[in-house]
């Protein structure tokens, strides 16, 4: 397991587990937020634009 003897040592991080895993956790959350934000914006745009298109089509035919 590289530098650490076993997995539980790795998790313990030489007593600094709280700090290391908290920082990595926050980074993961913020990276995840960035990806989620894109997906939400993309979905919001497509539903809005599609409905707009359908409306224009209908007004155009009417």
């Amino acid at each position: 397991m590289g530098y650490f003897a076993n997995f539980s040592d790795f998790i313990n991080m030489g007593g600094h587990a709280l700090y290391v895993w908290l920082s990595y956790g926050i980074t993961l959350v913020i990276f995840g937020y960035n990806l989620l934000a894109i997906w939400l914006k993309k979905r919001a745009f497509f539903t809005f634009a599609k409905r707009q298109l359908k409306r224009e089509q209908r007004n155009y035919d009417a």
Partner: protein, 222 residues
């Protein structure tokens, strides 16, 4: 029944109109004429209790309107210059809020009203995405919803296309024929038989005041 006795309005020491007397009964359609700045909007706002720049008395059901305020406001629908629409909300949310304000906006459903003003399918569009004309039509959708006895409309036909104007006109006439009352300002002349409309021309009034200020105003009933 709305009665106004010697209503005088003065704005930054300019007399807009003075000693205005008229009364409105069920079935009356009153058109206020005059070029811009002659106090048309101010008059309407005074009647709705939205302006304090006046002297004189306003009676609702033969009682001073300040005593009758709750049921006067219950009976009144005011469509002003501003559309009164929140741009961040959708058309449906705006109208649902209006229904929450005015229990008498209950003649049909919001979708039907929006349909009547040609906004079918735009229920959930935020109003900032609508054009000024469309926002105005959302505001005017209240006319289809409203069963208020008294309508006070300030230039309801601005930014409305020809077809819309005719529809709104028909709606106002229907409202009045069903025993409602309506006061409105508009440059559009109704193509209606003369005797059904009463007109007050604020310019003529102003003219009479300045030339002969002692004679009280008169009621122009045509």
């Amino acid at each position: 029944m709305l009665t106004v006795t010697n209503l005088t309005s003065e704005r930054d020491d300019r007399i807009l109109f003075a000693n205005l007397n008229f009364s409105l009964h069920a079935g009356d359609l009153l058109q206020i004429e005059g070029q811009n700045g002659s106090g048309k909007t101010t008059l309407l706002r005074i009647l709705c209790g939205l302006s304090s720049h006046f002297s004189g008395k306003i009676y609702w059901q033969n009682q001073d309107v300040s005593q009758q305020l709750p049921n006067f406001l219950q009976a009144l629908l005011y469509v002003g210059h501003h559309a009164g629409i929140k741009a961040a909300l959708t058309a449906e949310e705006n109208l649902r809020w209006m229904q929450r304000l005015h229990p008498l906006l209950n003649r049909c459903t919001i979708t039907e009203a929006l349909n009547q003003v040609g906004l079918y399918g735009y229920e959930d569009v935020p109003c900032y995405a609508l054009s000024a004309g469309q926002q105005r039509r959302v505001s005017l959708a209240r006319l289809y919803l409203s069963s208020h006895p008294l309508w006070i409309l300030d230039e309801p036909f601005t930014a409305i296309d020809k077809k819309g104007v005719l529809e709104k006109e028909a709606l106002i006439v229907k409202h009045v024929q069903q025993g409602g009352m309506c006061i409105l300002t508009t440059h559009h002349d109704f193509d209606l038989p003369k005797q059904t409309i009463r007109r007050i021309n604020l310019d003529q009034l102003a003219h009479t005041i300045t030339s002969v200020d002692t004679t009280p105003s008169y009621l122009v009933s045509v």
